[in-house]
Assembly symmetry: C2
Homo-oligomer: 140 residues x 2
DNA sequence: TACAATGAGACTAGAATAGTATCATTTGGA
DNA sequence: TCCAAATGATACTATTCTAGTCTCATTGTA
């Protein structure tokens, strides 16, 4: 089954949670873990990666926590997936064409490239302002 | 990196090879392995799965080999991927919504569903008659 | 200083991946 | 009839990935 990892899904929950808060408000990772049913010990890795990808800013110490590093409208599902999984490739040759000796005469390579473009486009347009707004509706 | 497995790629090579042959002509798995640079021992598993998915027909014994089970125009990249990987899910909740307790109020779930539709559409339209024709061009 | 929070990373168990190797079965032809 | 050619079905290994737990260091606030 071709799918993202569990951690990536957790990362989406974190960003969504932050996106649904009033702008600039901080919340601790533990609080998100509790509300979004993420294993407590796992959320640390997720937050670290999201921080490294500059999607969230973190503050240590008491009263610290996380917040989005930029407006939710400028963070898409694509950004989160790429931060967690690395590139969205579909097939390795899309990212590393050198590694396949058949690539020059391979029509399938082109098909994967096209599919990747379609997928990335779709994920790029799923920005977290839209998702958060939709989440408010569903939650109410 | 979100990607198909190596075996799935090999499966595409097999189907493409068969699609580029004159209709009905049989060829042995070993011959495909040699021409398309697939490990000899691995191609057996690939062919078995493609046979189980009714994408190819096989004949044992000397003079045997493989051929497409239906016209190349009726086999798409989607069929091959699903035969090898199982469902194209992108996220488990797209296939097994019951397993996530958040699914009812989750806007991200809808986004994954939309992305899946776009990806499957793209892969479905990549039929192997088109790919084979393009392959003839590239190879010439 | 005490405490609350993140940062970094070691560790485990289990599953998936990629590839190799055997042996059985079927079939056509010498 | 018997051999060789071909697929069918597994078993096996080594490696990497996944999901999750745990511990300790670092930072910042009160
Ligand atoms: S055979 Fe074609 S699709 Fe497969 S890895 Fe090579 S270039 Fe890509
Ligand atoms: S949190 Fe949403 S996207 Fe993630 S698995 Fe649950 S329903 Fe799917």
């Amino acid at each position: 089954m071709i799918s993202i990892s569990r951690e990536t899904d957790y990362a989406c929950r974190v960003i969504l949670h932050l996106g649904m808060l009033p702008v600039g408000q901080r919340v601790t990772a533990q609080e998100i873990a509790r509300q979004r049913i993420v294993p407590r010990a796992l959320i640390r890795r997720v937050v670290t990666r999201l921080g490294a990808a500059k999607l969230v800013t973190t503050t240590r110490g008491s009263g610290g926590g996380l917040a989005l590093a930029r407006p939710a409208s400028e963070i898409s599902l694509r950004d989160v997936v790429e931060a967690m999984e690395g590139a969205i490739a579909l097939n390795t040759c899309v990212i590393y064409p050198r590694e396949c000796p058949l690539v020059k005469a391979c029509p399938v390579h082109e098909a994967w490239t096209n599919a990747r473009v379609a997928l990335v486009r779709e994920l790029s347009q799923a920005t977290f302002d839209k998702l958060a707004a939709r989440g408010q509706m569903l939650g109410a």
